[in-house]
């Protein structure tokens, strides 16, 4: 990326013998919102804290707006930060909270009042200026945190799981507000979350992390449709995994029985290396069918049926003893628990990974 506003290169952080971050390279363009997504302990918060200046890295460098951050303490960086715990000062009013950073910048009194008020209006907290935080709900507190971080016109906005402490409906509403405000103001933003749905909904690009490394940095669609790592496929969207073997003629044979021939992809030639592979199929890739279907099909028994509104999840045990989840459109004709079922899938839906979890290139859905 040529127009990188934030560029982190070769970041390494170790806690004793544990590598929290290991050679992480990440660039964020001006005005872009990038999420760091991964399970807890993957290093996403550590990376955010390195960029904020609260965690010193042993290796690598962070450059923002052409300025190296080496030796610059957090208070000298001019980054807004939003915390999972809100970190709203309980002894200050809402307005004083928002003014806190402006005071440190020596903003004149009249100017300050105006900027505080407009920041509060932006997060719909205008009427709450004189209240103390303990009179606010969690969502309102986080709006204070947001206004406080935005009002200093930060060079970079860092958000550390800002919505994790809110309930589900409010999370969805707040993430839309955050995204709209971020676009409107064009603030370059790094956003940490462990919620894949939130990451998909809010990001320009998602950086998926595991064990201190970046596995894939790509737009949401690409991360979902063309995962660069078996872990990415599993973490985002969830997958059912099957052991399989590639036979001559690009035929894939699942250990469970069915075989299918890989369709030619854009940059794929026939004649892949023969041998064991892992096949990933998402829940929604399966269809109920009859045994005569020409598509590859798996036979099993419904162990449990969970109604989820617009879909129903069938937990199916295959003849081999393995289980899978299939999400099928709801309807009265669905098999009951204990019924035998046949599930088919379109071969192009199958994603292939090597035993080392690397994707076998060319397997993307047009």
């Amino acid at each position: 990326m040529t127009d990188a506003h934030l560029r982190a290169t070769g970041i390494g952080v170790r806690f004793g013998s544990f590598a929290a971050l290991d050679g992480v390279d990440l660039s964020v363009a001006r005005g872009e919102l990038v999420t760091l997504l991964g399970p807890s302990g993957c290093g996403k918060t550590t990376l955010l804290r390195v960029i904020a200046g609260f965690q010193r890295q042993q290796e690598g460098q962070v450059v923002v707006g052409g300025r190296s951050l080496d030796g610059i303490p957090p208070e000298g960086r001019n980054f807004g930060m939003v915390f999972q715990s809100y970190a709203v000062f309980p002894h200050l009013t809402v307005a004083d909270n928002v003014a806190y950073g402006l005071v440190a910048r020596g903003v004149r009194r009249g100017d300050m009042a105006r900027r505080v008020q407009s920041a509060l209006d932006r997060v719909q907290l205008g009427p709450f200026a004189a209240r103390y935080p303990d009179a606010l709900s969690g969502g309102q507190k986080q709006r204070v945190g947001l206004a406080r971080a935005m009002v200093i016109e930060p060079d970079l906005l860092l958000m550390d799981e800002p919505l994790s402490n809110l309930d589900a409906l409010l999370r969805i509403e707040m993430r839309r507000e955050i995204r709209m405000m971020q676009r409107e103001l064009g603030i370059t933003t790094l956003y940490v979350t462990h919620d894949q749905e939130e990451a998909l909904a809010i990001s320009d690009r998602i950086a998926v992390m595991r064990q201190g490394r970046l596995l894939q940095v790509a737009p949401p669609e690409e991360v979902f449709e063309a995962p660069a790592h078996a872990f990415v496929a599993d973490f985002i969207g969830g997958c059912n995994w099957f052991d399989a073997t590639i036979k001559p003629g690009d035929a894939v044979e699942l250990a469970e029985g069915p075989r299918f021939v890989l369709p030619p992809g854009p940059d794929r030639s026939l004649g892949r290396p023969l041998g064991p592979v892992r096949v990933a199929l998402r829940n929604e890739d399966f269809r109920l069918s009859d045994p005569a279907s020409p598509l590859p099909s798996l036979a099993g028994t419904v162990v449990m049926r969970a109604y989820m509104g617009h879909r129903t999840r069938l937990h199916v045990r295959l003849a081999s003893g393995a289980t899978l989840d299939a999400d099928v459109p709801g309807g009265p004709a669905l098999p009951a628990e204990g019924d035998p079922v046949h599930l088919t899938f379109e071969p192009p839906r199958a994603r292939l990974f090597t035993r080392e979890a690397e994707p076998m290139d060319g397997w993307r859905i047009p």
Binding site: P73, P74, E75, M81, F89, H91, A95, A149
Partner: protein
């Protein structure tokens, strides 16, 4: 950034270094010197365990050791019997007069233990009011001097600590656990035995330890109720060995002090081991609502608790009351007078002014150093701050008499010639009460979200300014609460200042103690009442300061 610039931006390492230095000089050094002296033979001057051999070879010294242990164990047992049922009742039930009874419990903490001891003598001493009255109707009870009296007086002055700690432990027990036990068919007492007590065991152990350490370290109570040499305990023994007018034995004093510290230390280690072994992960406690008790049960509970608390406060009432009575010889007359106060003020000298001055200066230092070091303990894991954490807690197990003797033997020559000065008393006050404020401040800091400081920093405010603008306002209520307790303790301090004072640095507790021991009973009562009154007024002030919340805003 140069290291100097970094220190200016973030001076916490400097603060940690300063605290450690202070504690090394004023805690580690005097104690190390005492340990050294205890290992140098009193007679031979040779290095070895000669003094310890002398100690355990002498039946008098052995008796002092046995007395100390007996009194502390008995007193702790009494305190447990008083405090645990009260704590259970307070944590679980609402009943009439609960607030007043609570104030009564806390009132027992207001005065130094020796004042209570003196009051027991006024009631049950050789010519005690109650004892005389009982003798008048033909009931003869033995005077209260000795082990039983000391244990009883100590228990009444120490039980509030145990009450507070145990009630705190009870408040943290998830009520759902007790409800679960009841729903499984256990009766009320069985629930307490099988669920509640095991869960509050760590608090119970801590509280018991505090009481035991308090009693075994106390100098005033055994000195007054033990009639000096007749019932020696380790604290009074160390004192008289060090300051005896007929040939002081500093080596033996050091040895006695060392044995006292070793006992305390052993108990602390034992208690920590016990508490750690039995600490169970406490799941998050739900809201505990006390069950209102109306009708006969409630009235009975209130009556029982009220009677206990009234009994515990009898000494206070007797002292205050008798301070206004005329004295003839050593006997109070039923005539109201201010004569005791007139005599007391005439003989006061600088004692009151000294007490106020020393305590105020010490308190200011305790607040600043306590707030800073509490913050360090909670937030920094550097070697220096861990060392500070360790050193700060040492005076907690060192009896005042021991620290006093240590100071007297170290600071009596250059480079730090402090004996006889006001500074040595102030420093001693600071060191003895720092653990309480530092601990209190650390426990508040633990509860404050680290994100607040990071938010402040990310908004462009330097760490030290952030500490002032964010942390201090949030720590203030806790600090003031800690300061209130520290004031009570410092203003009433006796056991170390009795070793260190000289004519010019006599304090009010010393004056009161001296009159109680062998002086005018009326003046003793007057001094004690002055101590109690000033402590109470100061506590009222702290409470007002705490109540006045609200922050001066920037807009």
């Amino acid at each position: 950034m140069t290291s100097l610039a970094r220190l200016l931006r973030d001076p916490w390492p400097l603060v940690a270094g300063g605290v450690v230095l202070l504690l090394l000089v004023f805690v580690a050094w005097p104690l190390a010197e005492l340990a050294r002296q205890s290992l140098i033979g009193q007679d031979s001057g040779r290095l070895g365990l000669e003094n310890y051999a002398t100690f355990f070879g002498s039946s008098y010294f052995r008796r002092a050791l046995a007395n100390s242990l007996t009194v502390a164990a008995l007193g702790t047992a009494f305190a447990l019997v008083l405090a645990v049922p009260l704590a259970l009742a307070f944590a679980r039930y609402d009943f009439a007069g609960k607030r007043w009874i609570e104030i009564g419990i806390l009132m027992s903490m207001l005065s130094p233990p020796f004042v209570g001891a003196y009051a027991w003598i006024l009631m049950f001493g050789r010519s005690g009011l109650v004892r005389e009255a009982l003798a008048g109707i033909g009931i003869d009870i033995p005077p209260i001097y000795g082990a039983f009296g000391i244990a009883l007086a100590s228990a009444f002055s120490q039980y509030p600590v145990l009450f507070l700690v145990v009630r705190g432990g009870l408040a943290r027990v998830n009520p759902a656990l007790e409800e679960a036990a009841s729903s499984l068919g256990r009766g009320r007492l069985a629930v307490i035995r099988t669920v509640t007590l095991p869960l509050i065991l760590p608090a119970l152990v801590t509280g018991t330890l505090l009481v035991f350490l308090g009693i075994i370290a106390d100098f005033g109570t055994p000195s007054i109720l033990g009639e000096g040499e007749r019932f020696p305990v380790l604290a009074t023994l160390a004192f008289s060995l060090y300051l005896s007018e007929i040939g002081a034995e500093p080596g033996m004093a050091a040895t006695t002090a060392a044995i006292l510290v070793l006992i305390s230390l052993t108990l602390v280690v034992l208690a920590r081991w016990l508490a750690a072994r039995r600490t169970v992960a406490n799941d998050t406690a739900g809201m505990r609502t006390a069950i209102p008790l109306a009708g006969r049960t409630g009235a009975l509970l209130a009556l029982g608790a009220g009677a206990l608390v009234l009994l515990a406060n009898m000494p206070l009432l007797v002292v205050v009351g008798s301070s206004f009575l005329e004295v003839r010889g050593v006997v109070f007359q039923p005539v109201l007078t201010l004569a005791n106060y007139i005599n007391a003020v005439a003989a006061l000298g600088d004692a009151l002014w000294n007490s106020l001055r020393f305590a105020a200066i010490a308190l200011a230092i305790i607040l600043v150093v306590g707030a800073l070091s509490g913050y360090l303990i909670a937030r920094s894991s550097s070697l220096l701050s861990r060392l500070a954490d360790l050193l700060i807690m040492v005076p907690y197990v060192v009896p005042g008499t021991v620290l006093g003797i240590g100071y007297a033997s170290v600071f009596n020559e250059p480079p730090l010639l402090l004996t006889g000065t006001a500074s040595i008393i102030v420093v001693m006050y600071v060191v003895r009460r720092l653990p309480y404020v530092a601990r209190a401040s650390a426990s508040i800091v633990y509860q404050i979200d680290r994100g607040l400081e990071e938010a402040s920093q990310s908004l462009g405010v330097r760490p030290l300014a952030g500490f002032r603008r964010v942390m201090l306002p949030l720590m203030r209520p806790g600090l003031l609460a800690g300061a209130a307790i520290a004031w009570v303790e410092v203003f009433n301090e006796l056991s170390a200042s009795i070793v260190l004072y000289t004519g010019g640095t006599r304090t009010l507790p010393i004056a009161a103690y001296q009159q109680s021991l062998a002086g005018d009973v009326g003046m003793a009562a007057a001094y004690a009442t002055m101590l109690i009154a000033i402590t109470a007024v100061a506590l009222g002030l702290f409470t007002m300061l705490r109540g006045r919340g609200g922050e001066v805003g920037v807009l």
